[in-house]
């Protein structure tokens, strides 16, 4: 699917954040931010270190309530929802944590089977087959009986992705998926994300600094700024590079080179 196809109107809105503020007590990270994530987007959250990207992701995934404002996921108000319906919504969301967050006392197969056993009605055999499929999808076919401590960091990320994919999520959140990976592995992971986005139709929300992946996979983005505590740029990353709205975005996207270009 090309970029232009993504630009087509008529795609439904998956996540809608209205005027949200993110804060730890009095320490405000982000004020009155509003943005929308459309279906099938690969939505990038970028910004300098410590500007609150991970914290925003914690709000979006319900680990922390936003200080103000509301978040709608698939048309349901997520912030106001009771725990039960919130849990329902979260079952349709997969999360890939920065370090994989695999359960170390379980094999990869057991890790991936856990959400399936909890939330689906599949038979044992079907779950085993699904687990193998998910592992095959992320290129880890045959690693079912390995423990997280027996595989490399990049493989852990992929295994984490396989677990996030277990319940066929509508939305997949990834926190710095390519951090700590070599360029080849990180490119492979990007390819995988695009492939899954296009074949499964999953919406991705990705926190990343990696310029290469921002430009190759991102279809939409927001740029957070620690100074002003606001969203300083919005839109397709390549368009942002062509018409940067301000210096902060331009410097970020060009790694501070060509100040006067």
């Amino acid at each position: 699917m090309t970029k232009d196809e993504h630009e087509q109107s008529g795609k439904s809105i998956k996540i809608k954040a209205t005027d949200i503020s993110v804060a730890y007590g009095d320490f405000v990270l982000l004020e009155n931010a509003s943005f929308e994530v459309k279906e099938r987007d690969i939505f990038i959250i970028m910004g300098g270190s410590g500007c609150g990207k991970s914290s925003l992701l914690r709000c979006l995934t319900g680990l922390m309530p936003p200080a103000t404002g509301s978040i709608e996921i698939s048309g349901v108000d997520f912030t106001a929802a009771d725990p039960l319906s919130r849990n329902k919504i979260m079952q349709k969301c997969g999360i890939l944590y920065q370090g994989g967050a695999l359960f170390s006392s379980m094999t990869l197969a057991e890790n991936i089977a856990l959400p399936l056993e909890q939330y689906s009605h599949y038979s044992k055999k079907m779950i085993a087959e699904l687990v193998s499929l998910k592992l095959a999808l992320v290129g880890l076919a045959g690693f079912e009986d390995f423990y997280p401590s027996e595989i490399s960091g990049g493989m852990k990320k992929r295994a984490g992705l396989a677990r996030a994919l277990a319940l066929d999520p509508d939305i997949l959140y990834c926190d710095e998926p390519s951090a700590g990976l070599d360029p080849i592995s990180s490119k492979l992971l990007d390819d995988l994300i695009m492939e899954l986005n296009q074949s499964l139709g999953t919406t991705f929300v990705i926190v990343t600094h990696e310029l290469a992946s921002i430009f190759t996979i991102g279809t939409n983005s927001i740029f957070l700024d620690a100074e002003t505590k606001r969203i300083m740029g919005k839109g397709n990353p390549q368009d942002l590079l062509k018409n940067p709205p301000n210096d902060a975005v331009f410097n970020f996207l060009t790694r501070g080179k060509d100040e006067n270009a």
Binding site: H121, Y122, L130, L133, A136, G139, D168, S199
Partner: protein, 370 residues
């Protein structure tokens, strides 16, 4: 899972119609392929014009069909599937790295016996090396050449001194109380309840104070050492220390061991006092002994050698507890589970070694007549 199949010549067409969401009853791909083999069919095409929504349960069926079909030389034409489904299955079929097989073979009895023995010998050597390392570090520490941070030492000291006072006081008071009660039942029969005072004083001073301290501190401080150092192992902090060339026994073990060795005698003195107070509480309120009398008998029973024997035990226990905590922490595995295992082992082995040491020391004191 419902689908139509129409066979003609050596080709079968699978028609996917409608939605395939959370289908639990997919036909077994293996049977399906075997069936095709039997009928001499070597080509499968799909007709998916009316395919609605689908999820992994459909993908899983098609994936195994394609995988087994390839193995059985049956041409599964994925191109006739919708584009995204085809891409997904091709992605899953692509194997970029094969794991080296994990073989968990069982050894015959004799060999496994031998292996266990080797493991035990290796573990014993390791702990001996560990203790040797501690002693060397201790020498460096005395020459103030050990690489450690003073704050670490002070933190450790703080943790095992005044922060432990509450629990130590409470438990030893109760022990003194119990000792007095149990003794009183017997001594009362002879009208000799006044000797409860001596019993409690000697009992607490010579051994009970130290033993109770050992058990409390093993659960409180030894466990925390193992958990802290074990977590450092999980976070690769131990590796970082090793590669910086900082001896772990200097940096992590010595502050903990010295502070516990320093703290234990003081805590034991506190325990002795609280135990005697506990005994007095029973003696005075329940047995009707007057405070002056109780104090008189206690003072007569107090002997310096009992007191020092108790302190000596407590120093040995302090070493054992800290060493076990640090040893199991350092040899912890790399996942969350192993921190739990390390903590358990640290406490259990500290208690076992304390009992062994008590046995040996008691015999030695007996022989020396102390």
């Amino acid at each position: 899972m419902q689908f139509e199949q129409t066979a003609e010549n050596n080709k079968v067409t699978i028609t996917l119609r409608g939605d395939y969401i959370a289908c639990n009853n997919a036909p077994s791909p293996a049977h399906f392929i075997a069936d095709l083999k039997e009928k001499n069919i070597n080509k499968v095409v799909f007709s998916a014009k009316e395919l609605g929504a689908w999820d992994s349960s459909l993908v899983v069926f098609l994936f195994y069909l394609a995988k087994l079909g390839n193995a059985a030389d049956i041409d599964i034409n994925l191109k006739t599937l919708p584009k995204n489904l085809e891409r997904l299955i091709n992605l899953a079929l692509k194997v970029d790295r094969k794991p080296q097989s994990k073989h968990l073979s069982r050894l015959p009895f004799l060999e496994s016996l031998g292996e266990h023995t080797l493991v035990i010998i290796e573990a014993s050597l390791k702990s001996i090396r560990f203790v040797k390392g501690i002693l060397k570090s201790f020498v460096r520490f005395c020459k103030s050449k050990a690489i450690m941070r003073k704050v670490d030492f002070l933190f450790a000291l703080e943790d095992c001194t005044y922060k432990a006072v509450g629990i130590v006081s409470l438990v030893s008071f109760m022990v003194g109380l119990i000792l007095a009660f149990v003794g009183a039942i017997q001594l009362k029969a002879f009208g000799a309840q006044i000797y409860v005072a001596s019993l409690v004083a000697i009992g607490m001073l010579r051994i009970m104070g130290a033993i109770m301290m050992g058990i409390i501190m093993a659960g409180r401080t030894g466990a925390s050492y193992a958990a802290t150092i074990g977590t450092m192992q999980v976070n690769e902090e131990i590796d970082a220390l090793k590669t910086m060339g900082i001896p772990i026994s200097d940096f992590l073990v010595i502050p903990r061991i010295t502070s516990l060795i320093i703290a234990m005698p003081f805590l034991t003195i506190l325990a002795d006092i609280m135990g005697i107070l506990g005994g007095a509480a029973v003696g005075i309120t329940i047995l009707g002994i007057s405070p002056q009398e109780y104090w008189q008998y206690t003072r007569d029973a107090l002997a310096f050698n009992d007191f020092f024997v108790g302190l000596f035990y407590s120093i040995v226990y302090g070493f054992i507890i800290a060493a076990c905590g640090c040893y199991y922490g350092i040899n912890c595995g790399r996942d969350a589970d192993s921190v739990g295992i390390a903590t358990t082992r640290a406490v259990v082995s500290a208690i076992v070694w304390m009992i062994v040491a008590t046995g040996i020391l008691t015999v030695i004191f007996e022989v020396l007549g102390i």
